[in-house]
């Protein structure tokens, strides 16, 4: 979809996913790293437990479909090369602290003036301007400041985050979408523009309108652990957790009816539950006592089944219940496999073959999906700088000067 679009990707870890998405959609993404590589982004865990930036699994996972070059932006020669690269690019994607590229004379205003068609995406913790623009934040601080942490976790403990950085996962596709939208606008107007993405602001969408609801009726919501709204959403099966809800209105009632029918077949539906009038069921009207009674009946039943048994019947009986999968279970999930979600990439010099989730969407016209593995440090220096007329000898000179 984005074939032929060249993207200079200066981003650090928070922007890895955004660049990967654009590459997986067909863009020619050129990843810039400092000479020697992005040591923080290439940190462990490492393939084969060998501490080597080329073996960073985080790097390999999130930098597919990119070419890689090195460049010391803060050197005069590096800055000049960056401008020459930008002159041939459609998009710049960066995660630099607001003002830091400007301090090098490499800011959006300067480059835009040189190339009016340039789209520039700035992905920062809080946006390019404003009272918190200079605040530093990675995932933990972003999920705190963006409102998700306050609502995640158990009421008797601290707010909690996800083991992997969901703030980047929210902001990555948002930034990629902003870039695609700006490219669409450019195709019509000829003008590029600045796409200013705030990772904090991206977090608010994870609250699915909770702030707006609060603005309407200021009722303090706390953490509810395994509950969602007023009722339980995560339940213990024999061998782990499953998701199953009591809320949802008419759309969910058939699933509840089917669950109770299954419980009845197994002699585990109490009389009152079998007699319940589902036509008038409304989760908003349940008393705490009714909720407790319902939860106890479902809990006792789920506890007698494995997650596999529960999901098999969920599929057969159209019950809205699902296992809380771990990564191995996801790799084996039959529906995902049948759609060819996973693709195996070869790393011959590392002696490894690794399964990656491919770009999932199926498009009738455009070829999309992972095109190549993540680049090694400076892997495409010769190729990319060659386009600027820098030959092998000149490149060696630049390397000696610490520019590449």
């Amino acid at each position: 979809m984005l074939d032929g679009i060249r993207i200079l990707d200066l981003s650090e870890e928070p922007g890895f996913l955004a660049g990967k998405i654009l590459g997986d959609l067909g863009a020619d993404v050129i990843k810039l790293e400092p000479p020697g590589g992005d040591t923080f982004g290439r940190r462990g865990p490492f393939l084969g437990e060998l501490a080597d930036p080329e073996r960073s699994l985080r790097w390999l996972a999130l930098n597919t479909s990119k070419r890689g070059i090195t460049l010391a932006l803060a050197t005069p020669r590096g800055g000049e090369l960056f401008r020459r690269l930008a002159a041939r690019a459609d998009v710049v994607l960066e995660t630099a602290a607001p003002g830091s590229l400007e301090a090098l004379g490499l800011g959006w205003e300067t480059l835009h003036a040189e190339r009016p068609g340039l789209v520039w995406c700035s992905l920062t913790p809080f946006g390019r301007t404003g009272p918190y623009a200079q605040f530093r934040a990675h995932d933990l601080v972003l999920v705190a400041m963006g409102g998700n942490a306050a609502l995640t976790g158990d009421p008797d403990r601290a707010p909690v985050r996800c083991t992997l950085p969901t703030a980047y996962y929210a902001a990555g596709p948002e930034a990629a979408a902003g870039i695609a939208m700006a490219l669409y606008a450019r195709a019509r107007s000829g003008r590029g523009q600045l796409v200013d993405v705030s990772m904090q602001e991206c977090q608010l969408a994870t609250l699915v309108t909770a702030p707006g609801q609060y603005s309407l009726s200021p009722k303090r919501r706390g953490r509810t652990g395994a509950r969602l709204g007023g009722t339980r959403e995560i339940w213990r099966a024999k061998d782990g957790d499953v998701s199953f809800g009591l809320r949802g209105g008419a759309a969910r009632v058939p699933s509840l009816v089917a669950t109770v029918a299954w419980m009845a077949e197994e002699g585990m539906a109490p009389e009152w539950l079998r007699a319940l009038d589902w036509k008038t069921y409304n989760h908003n009207l349940l008393s705490e006592q009714e909720i407790a009674r319902l939860e106890s009946a479902f809990r006792s039943f789920f506890a007698t089944k494995t997650r596999r048994e529960l999901f098999e019947q969920a599929l057969a009986r159209r019950i809205m219940l699902a296992p809380c999968n771990d990564a191995r279970e996801i790799l084996e999930q039959p529906q995902l496999r049948s759609r060819g979600l996973f693709t195996t990439l070869d790393y011959p010099e590392l002696g490894a073959r690794i399964e990656h989730p491919d770009f999932f969407a199926k498009a009738s016209r455009s070829r999309i999906g992972i095109r190549c593995r993540a680049p090694r440090v400076g892997e495409h220096n010769a190729e990319v700088y060659g386009e600027l007329g820098i030959d092998a000898g000149a490149l060696r000179e630049l390397a000696r000067e610490g520019v590449v």
Partner: protein, 405 residues
């Protein structure tokens, strides 16, 4: 909406479906001037219109707060698709539209005769996108579920919470907020492709797969080294301190994340904890990770009496990453979000004034706009049908036949 401005001025999007995955995605376009028409029906209403419904609710299908907050800037046309005449109305709308975005379960559109194969005959350069839970193909495509199930299957629930407790999942059933972004991205990319080539296309998105793709790191680590990541509270694998600490007041907290020895020394200085700074156990990352519980306890002791926001400012000024854990009330007052104009207060005819939200992108060429609150069901039926060429008499007779319900 009046004369539209914005990146997508003049673009027409037809939306069929319910919930979040489709409707949140089209907001990106509506807030940038696209005309987004929801095709919906009172016969089988969007479940979000009813999510908070209680009997006797005077607003009926039109006062569901979550629905209202997710669907400003849109038009609503009521069409009963169980009637062939209703399908004919949608076909007429498809001829007019640039984009059709739908998130019904897989067989619904085909059952009505509204498959992509049919719709492209009506509008050859149509961009059509389907985004159901599990995708349009595969043995489990008909599995019914909401975002809670999407979060579970895609792996997010397993990764959030405390290791000694059941999974909780990030609040807000995360596939409901992840998948709309990918839907918006793909619609925009397909429109860009159409601008360049004149070609439309069909795109099949599985909400669950957007979640799995996002968790590429977990999948790659499992595949490459057999590692199964699980929930671990707030601790990071490779740095400490990295946690959320109590502050003064009820349920007030601060997140603090330190990534280097230098930042550790700055933190100790800013908290006036010289003893901690010189404690040999905490001098290196390895030491801090090994004694993380003692470290957390010592820091919590110091943060407990302090105001979260004041402490955040103090630590940030000292070069330490810190952020107050913000509640919904805090977000509505957050000066940075105010600076970006995140919240837009607008009066809704049934609910009164409430705060609508923008997404996280600002374009230098055109600010996003929220001009009208969410529509009542069928509020714009006459207007939109008139725009695509139905006469008043035709509209009246369709309404009398129960087609526009």
């Amino acid at each position: 909406m009046g004369e539209s401005a914005g990146l997508f001025a003049g673009l027409k999007i037809l939306e069929l479906g319910a919930g979040a995955a489709g409707p949140v995605a089209t907001r990106y376009f509506a807030d940038q001037g696209a005309k987004v028409v929801r095709v919906e029906s009172g016969v089988r209403p969007d479940f979000l219109r009813l999510l908070h419904f209680r009997p006797g609710d005077p607003h009926g299908l039109n006062g569901g707060p979550m629905f209202v907050l997710m669907n400003p800037n849109k038009l609503s046309v009521a069409v009963n698709l169980s009637k062939p005449e209703g399908v004919a109305v949608v076909e007429r709308l498809v001829r007019w539209a640039d984009v059709v975005s739908e998130n019904f379960s897989p067989r619904a559109m085909a059952k009505w005769g509204l498959s992509y194969e049919r719709l492209r005959e009506l509008r050859p350069d149509l961009v059509m996108l389907s985004s159901c839970l599990f995708g349009q193909t595969g043995p489990q495509r008909m599995y019914p579920g909401f975002g809670g199930q999407g979060s579970a299957i895609s792996g997010f629930n397993h990764l959030a919470g405390w290791p000694d407790r059941e999974a909780v999942g990030p609040a807000g059933t995360i596939t409901d907020s992840l998948s709309p972004r990918y839907v918006a991205l793909l619609i925009a990319a397909a429109l860009f492709h159409r601008e360049r080539t004149g070609e439309g296309q069909y795109i099949d998105v599985s909400q669950i797969e957007t979640g799995v793709y996002s968790l590429s790191e977990a999948i790659v680590r499992a595949s490459a080294r057999g590692e199964i990541l699980t929930r671990r509270g707030n601790h990071a694998e490779d740095t400490a301190p990295h946690a959320i600490y109590p502050c003064a007041g009820e349920d007030r907290w601060i997140a603090i994340a330190v990534f280097s020895d230098e930042e550790w020394r700055r933190l100790c200085a800013a908290l006036s904890l010289p003893a901690l700074a010189s404690d040999a156990r905490f001098a290196s990352v390895a030491g801090r990770l090994a004694h993380e519980d003692a470290l957390d306890a010592a820091l919590a002791e110091q943060t407990r009496g302090q105001d979260a926001v004041a402490l955040m400012h103090r630590l940030q000024a000292a070069g330490v990453e810190a952020g107050a854990v913000q509640t919904c009330a805090d977000l509505l007052q957050d000066p940075q979000l105010a600076h970006r104009g995140h919240f837009v207060r607008l009066a809704h005819r049934h609910l009164g004034e409430l705060s609508f939200e923008h997404y996280g992108i600002r374009f230098s060429e055109s600010p996003p706009r929220i001009e009208t609150p969410a529509p009542d069901l069928g509020e714009h039926t006459q207007r939109v049908l008139g725009e695509v060429g139905y006469s008043e008499a035709e509209i009246r007779s369709l309404a009398e036949a129960g087609v526009l319900a």
